[in-house]
């Protein structure tokens, strides 16, 4: 993989960047969908995120990225290992796994290890992309074009946090909790509503229309392409600062308090918008809390709700899906009604 463009060097696109940062702070918020114009740097931002994320601790030799500090969530292999003795741990980069559109099902969920089957006639499980993405991010570019049977698989696993493979005479289950990140262009087709619902936040990405920003985008891109190593070095400080901010926010997250009055407002906001179920409210609260943590605030306030509500709610309005074009407007209206 070529050097990634630094996250902090991305011009504008504040909503998308914020959503990705929130997902990095609290994976429970549940993923980001970025839909928008061609050539606006959606994929760039996701790849940049991979380079930005602080490293994570894993059990050495575990194929499922098990966290040594959470024995309750171990995969079966780690349980066996733990029973035998202390586990070794290592720091590794957080996986940001690509799910390419041409992927076959066996590679996504995992299947019989072909090599061992052929060479030694053994039946062994070869983990797939879902296993690789555990505790990290699963990235689908052009998510709206993903084949239906793959979408079904994802929905199932994303809901349960566990991948169960019952095939080829194998019976394997392993944890697969990942943050789903999807990008796409609405001109090429819409996303299935069920999949849409799995994303915690959805952002609309537009090409900057202000000339100064546009010039800056092209200039940075050109500098990056001419000498990416030097460019990355130049931005290293900003990246480090941002990384620190993410780590700090993760630590603060549990201590950020959510006052009852804010909870009430969030509920009112969701009611005003007629969002289905509780998922909207939960996501809104979690995202607002992560945002407060990023801001180093001790409590979640209306200010946080206001900033994150459009991303957390715009794709959940109970509606005839035709209203999509106006959903941002509706959220804005509800915000000004409820939050004043």
């Amino acid at each position: 993989m070529a050097t990634a463009f630094p996250f902090s060097a991305i011009v504008g696109q504040d909503e998308m960047k914020l959503a990705l940062l929130i997902a990095a702070v609290d994976p429970k918020v549940g993923g980001v969908l970025a839909f928008g114009d061609r050539g606006s740097g959606k994929s760039t931002a996701v790849r940049a995120l991979a380079a930005l994320l602080p490293k994570m601790k894993v059990v050495v030799g575990c194929r499922y990225n098990c966290d040594p500090d959470r024995p309750a969530e171990f995969c079966e292999e780690c349980r066996v290992r733990a029973a035998k003795g202390a586990l070794k741990s290592a720091q590794v980069p957080v996986p940001v796994v690509d799910l390419p559109l041409g992927a076959t099902e066996d590679r996504v969920v995992g299947a019989l290890d072909l090599e061992r089957a052929l060479a030694r006639g053994e039946k062994a499980f070869e983990p797939g992309l879902l296993a690789r993405a555990h505790r990290g991010f699963l990235y689908i570019d052009e998510a709206n074009l993903l084949e239906d049977h793959l979408v079904d698989l994802l929905l199932d696993v994303a809901a349960s946090g566990e991948n169960v493979v019952e095939r080829e005479g194998l019976s394997i289950r392993h944890p697969a909790r990942f943050v789903l990140v999807g990008t796409g262009n609405p001109e090429e087709g819409e996303l299935r509503p069920q999949l849409l619902d799995r994303f915690g936040m959805s952002v609309e990405v537009k090409t900057p229309d202000n000339l100064a920003d546009r010039i800056e985008v092209v200039r940075r891109r050109d500098t990056f392409e001419t000498d990416s190593a030097a460019f990355v070095t130049n931005w290293a400080k900003d990246e480090a600062r941002l990384r620190k901010k993410i780590i700090g926010a993760r630590e603060k997250l549990s201590s950020v308090s959510v006052p009852d009055v804010t909870l009430e407002r969030a509920a009112k906001l969701c009611m005003a918008l007629g969002t289905d179920g509780l998922r909207g409210e939960l996501t809104l609260m979690r995202a607002a809390r992560a945002l407060a943590a990023l801001d180093s605030a001790k409590t979640v306030t209306d200010h946080h709700l206001r900033r994150i509500a459009p991303s957390a709610l715009r794709h959940r309005l109970r509606r005839n899906p035709l209203d999509d074009a106006g959903s941002s407007v509706r959220v804005d209206r509800a915000i000004s009604e409820v939050l004043g």
Partner: protein
């Protein structure tokens, strides 16, 4: 522009592309087969260093062949998984040529553009997980007619857009560029750095031309660099920028740049703050504020006058061009969908071999076959013996895709009564189609003719937009509306999809096929159009939107074998429910 001028630009484009194939993305070559195209390809071939491959990608290439995957033959022979490089990886360092790019399926397009963006082919197939370098330039040969275009996401990534359809052979002088020049220019590329003002100028020009995508100015910059390298300049000169603007920006222009005299709508913002940042490094004295104008002038000169009218309308035309090739749906249906089990079968084109199942099927017989093979003393003995009977083919169940065609009566008589309600009902039906992943199309008739407001699409945003913009009033050319529905249904069928027609009208035709007035003739024409639809056996629902449903609506419905739904006082919701029930 004259034919020779177009050709000369074409030759320049080929040479520029050859200097930096992956950097410039590639060339969109809008040209039908013929000597001009062959000549252009010959120019390109001559400009490229001989060692570089040009791989042709046929339209119907299998996904596995394009991306790479398991080489079954080698795997079975060697008794271990052997990966096969796909075409994209094989083209690394060279050029791929996409034939009939206007018919590229959405999936194919994504595979190509993803590899272009990442510079590598990512394969997660058949038990293999591979990343292979795939840096290549693309020649997309677009043979589309009228409104058929190569997918927008691909066009966006190709710097140079050429249209050779209009020029004749006599304009296309044979020319053999020297590959040595290309090599020399490549060596110079890294030393050419654009000045801040030059980047600014290209961005300003792109904005003034109404180009949204930021790839355009970036690609223009690379072309300017390639141009400077080719011309032997030691830095990027004004003429290089002008060339880039002409070749990259002009063909993408959606708005005609303001004429010289007129004040530009957006005066270029004074780039003071940027100027002092970069002030020190390589400010080129002869580049000043006037650069923007030089570039715009270059673009202006490149846009032929007669194209101006189309340019203005172009915004609509371009966005309407199908982003996924028209053949897409049909092509996909044989290979995608929900896996519906595995069956024993022969390897035919388009069939997907299920390796695991095949191996499983072969496994129990190995010992037996081995004994047999030992007896017959075959010279090469593979570790696994696979027989034809073992082959297992994955089966995919694909619901035939339905395209629902709404034929909406927007005439005065209907508008008065129910146009708003009809719109509401159509919106609800659209929503349902969306949930079922059906495609929808929208035809409206009013005045003297029918108009296709929306070709079959899945994009709800577009459907909604065109519906909202639907004006009412005028006569009722029912025959024209039904004819349009028939023509569209026919083309949908030919693509292997199933058309369903929903007509919303009060049935009171008063405009004949030829646009003439008069109720009796109009009704005759409507009846004959209705019969045509029935003969074709298309599923139709006629919703009578008249406040007093009467004979006319019912008669038409009967004539076309449609379900008749008189809905005198229904609201949008009831209407859509009724239609859904009868469509099934």
């Amino acid at each position: 522009m004259t034919g020779t001028a177009v050709w000369s630009d074409g030759v320049t484009a080929a040479r520029l592309f050859a200097v930096d194939p992956p950097g410039t993305g590639g060339v969109l070559l809008r040209s039908r087969a013929g000597p001009v195209r062959d000549r252009w390809l010959a120019v390109l071939r001559a400009a490229l260093p001989r060692s570089e491959t040009v791989k042709k990608v046929p339209l119907n290439i299998a996904e596995g062949r394009l991306l790479g995957g398991l080489d079954l033959n080698a795997t079975l022979l060697a008794g271990r998984p052997v990966a096969e490089r796909g075409l994209l990886a094989e083209a690394d360092g060279g050029v791929i040529m996409l034939a009939m790019a206007e018919r590229l399926s959405a999936a194919m397009t994504v595979h190509v553009t993803a590899a272009m963006d990442a510079g590598e082919a990512i394969v997660e197939r058949d038990g293999l997980s591979l990343r292979m370098p795939a840096r290549f330039g693309v020649i997309a040969i677009d043979e589309g007619l009228d409104d058929e275009f190569a997918p927008a996401s691909l066009r966006d990534r190709l710097a140079l857009h050429l249209d050779l359809n209009a020029i004749g052979v006599h304009d296309a002088e044979e020319f053999a560029p020297d590959a040595g020049e290309t090599a020399a220019a490549r060596a110079k590329l890294p030393s050419l750095k654009p000045a801040a003002a030059q980047i600014e100028a290209l961005c300003t020009a792109a904005t003034a031309l109404g180009i949204t995508s930021l790839r355009a100015p970036m690609l223009a910059l690379r072309i300017a660099r390639a141009g400077a390298a080719l011309a032997g300049h030691s830095r990027i000169e004004q003429e290089d920028l002008a060339l880039a603007a002409r070749l990259v920006l002009a063909p993408r222009a959606l708005v005609f740049p303001p004429a010289d005299g007129a004040a530009p709508p957006e005066p270029p913002p004074p780039p003071e703050d940027e100027a002092d940042e970069s002030g020190g490094e390589d400010q080129i004295p002869d580049i000043d504020r006037a650069l923007d104008e030089v570039i715009l002038a270059a673009v202006q000169a490149a846009i032929p006058l007669d194209v101006l009218a189309t340019l203005r309308a172009g915004a609509a035309g371009r966005s309407r061009s199908r982003s996924s090739g028209k053949a897409g749906a049909l092509q996909k249906s044989s290979k995608r969908g929900r896996p519906a089990g595995v069956l024993r079968g022969a390897l035919r084109a388009g069939a997907r071999l299920n390796v695991i199942e095949t191996l499983r099927a072969a496994a129990p017989w190995q010992a037996l076959r081995r004994r047999e093979a030992a007896g017959s003393a075959a010279e090469s003995r593979p570790r696994i013996l696979i027989r034809k009977d073992d082959f297992r083919i994955s089966r995919f169940k694909q619901r035939t895709e339905t395209v629902t065609i709404f034929v909406v009566d927007a005439s005065g008589s209907a508008a008065l009564h129910r146009l708003a309600e009809a719109k509401g009902a159509v919106e609800l039906l659209l929503a349902d189609c969306y949930i079922r992943r059906d495609q929808v199309a929208l035809i409206a008739f009013r005045g003297s003719a029918a108009e296709m407001l929306l070709p079959p699409t899945r994009s709800l945003a577009r459907a909604k937009r065109s519906l909202a913009g639907l004006p009412g009033g005028g006569g009722t050319p029912l025959a024209a509306g039904l004819d349009a529905a028939f023509v569209l249904s026919d083309s949908i069928r030919r693509k292997g999809q199933t058309p369903t027609v929903i007509v919303l009208t009060d049935g009171r035709a008063n405009i004949a096929r030829d646009g003439g007035q008069g109720r009796p003739r109009a009704e005759d024409d409507a009846m004959s159009a209705a019969r045509q639809l029935r003969a074709a056996g298309i599923a139709i629902v006629l919703v009578d939107t008249s406040p007093r449903p009467g004979v006319s609506g019912e008669a038409i419905a009967k004539e076309m074998g449609a379900r008749y739904l008189p809905l005198p006082h229904a609201d949008a919701a009831t209407l859509s429910k009724a239609v859904l029930a009868s469509v099934g």
